[in-house]
């Protein structure tokens, strides 16, 4: 089966002064898959995510998302693509002047004309779907815990029912129960919505539980892609210690027994 490619990255190069983060990096993301991106700290996972969603202009290369060349496109075309994507930032990045409900409503309010009652009901639905208590809708972000901020950030990212969802370290800093609930949530959203997920994470349990494919960033490029099992056969010191370490065994053991 050849799946449609929704994000195609070709020859991406990112340079900060003399530091080269990516050099001639290429990567494909297929429709409906959950792609986990892993790599050592400083290997440019977040820079890659920021380049794709247009927060950073890469030094060279081409990025095609949903059929649009996002780097060369006009502002209007880029905006049309960004309506079809959702981004969840590492710490939620909620607007501090708005309540959680208003945060979730914000994309609908700005990008689509939806009447206020429907908008509110949908915001409440999203808040419930990401596992936040109903009263959280009235709280301001400063009153939320770190885990709640992440969930609220996810609710906002899902607000427009995106086709592609970008998640930056979604389970970092969550307790194991919330983290595995997050994995379940991600799986159910992905099956029911046909979501494509670009997931930057360090969490081996999340990788095991949710990802169809894993891309390893190292040496300024994508070193390897494949399933969790395939990763164990990759001949590279870093990949070996990452996927064959004690934590990886624990994650696989749990997955095997369940």
């Amino acid at each position: 089966m050849v799946a449609e490619t929704v994000i195609a990255i070709r020859g991406l190069t990112n340079r900060f002064g003399k530091t080269v983060v990516h050099e001639n990096l290429s990567l494909d993301v297929h429709r409906g898959e959950v792609l986990g991106v892993v790599g050592a700290s400083g290997s440019g996972k977040s820079v890659l995510l920021r380049s794709i969603v247009g927060l950073m202009a890469p030094s060279a290369g081409q990025i095609t998302m949903l059929g649009t060349d996002v780097l060369g496109a006009s502002a209007a075309d880029r905006a049309a693509v960004s309506v079809r994507t959702g981004v969840m930032f590492q710490d939620g990045a909620l607007f501090s002047a708005l309540t959680v409900r208003e945060n979730v409503e914000a994309p609908m309010r700005e990008r689509l004309s939806v009447d206020a009652v429907t908008r509110r009901a949908l915001a409440d639905l999203r808040i419930a779907m990401v596992g936040l208590p109903a009263r959280a809708g009235d709280l301001f972000p400063s009153a939320l815990s770190g885990g709640m901020r992440k969930r609220a950030g996810l609710a906002r990212a899902l607000s427009l029912d995106p086709e592609i969802l970008f998640l930056d370290e979604p389970t970092a800093g969550l307790d194991p129960i919330s983290a595995s609930a997050f994995d379940t949530l991600l799986n159910s959203l992905r099956t029911s919505l046909g979501l494509t997920v670009f997931l930057v994470t360090h969490d081996l349990d999340t990788l095991q539980a949710t990802c169809d494919r894993i891309a390893v960033l190292a040496d300024r490029r994508v070193l390897a892609t494949g399933t969790m099992a395939e990763m164990r056969d990759v001949d590279d010191a870093w990949v070996r210690s990452y996927f064959n370490g004690p934590r990886a065994h624990a994650a696989l053991a749990v997955a095997g027994s369940s």
Binding site: A121, L122, D124, A128, M129, R135, S192
Partner: protein, 348 residues
Amino acid sequence: MVICGPVTLANIADIRTRFEQTEATAPADLSAVTRLDTAGAWLLASSGRPILGATDAQSLLLAAVRDALPPDVKAAPRKVHHRMADPLAGVGIAVGAHFAAVAQGLGFVGIVVARLAGLLVRPWRLRLTSVVHHMQQVGLNAVPIVALMGFLIGIVLAFQGAAQLRQFGAEVFVVDLIAVSILRELGVLLTAIIVAGRSASAFTAAIGSMKMREEIDAIRVLGLDPIELLVLPRLLALVIVLPILGFVADLSGLFGGGLMAWTELGISPSQFRTRLLADVGVAQALVGLSKAPVFAAIIALVGCYHGLQVKGDAESLGMRTSRAVVTAIFLVIVTDALFSVFFAVWGV
């Protein structure tokens, strides 16, 4: 009823109208639906109709939405309804909050003074590097703007003074006018206002963003004192450099005034100098500069205090920064007025 095409957020209104036109219990047939998103699923699930012909993925989504369907939450209104007595209550609350803020500010001054006294006993705990760093930031880097400001004020005073004094042939007194007003009042006052705008805001923003990122808590947990580490170096640096900046403003003000007096009124530099030394004297300059350390302390304390009051969100940082500048400038001017009264009473 049979629903065709996409059922998504974009066309949710059309679907709802069609729902309203049919019987409330009529089953919805999804076999012709091309795309279903959460918004559409929400509409179907909350309508309470039986669903027919849904694909596996669609039933999964419907089930997920049904599970999450919140009990009817009532959003808390952002603003309560206004009542007649609200303005009155507002006045009371504002006065109470004002006194509380004054008390808190005085408490902060007290803590800083106590830490300063502690520093006298153990002077080696002073962060000298930090003091020098801040002296450069608030002092050296402010020299160009302060000098330019003084120069321009001197020009303005000479120009306006000359126009008035010429009417009764007392042009030469423009030297006294420039010297007394710049040395005694304007040089130091305007320098303090510029520094308040420049440095009080910088102090608040720097300390406030440290507070937001829990750096202040980290300092406390390490057993260190944020006042000693962050406030005292800034306070001492500003107390040291503000008189120097005031002196720079005085000099450039005299230079600007002298230049203008020379070109406009034909008062030569040597004449200017003779009159300056004979009529004005060094006492005027000392009176002016003696206020600078007090202004410096006010600016530094206000800036640091508001920085430490910043809460977790970005909005409070902005609010505190602007409030620090306004409060610092206001207090500097009030203090200057008090100084004037004090000097007048004592005949200085």
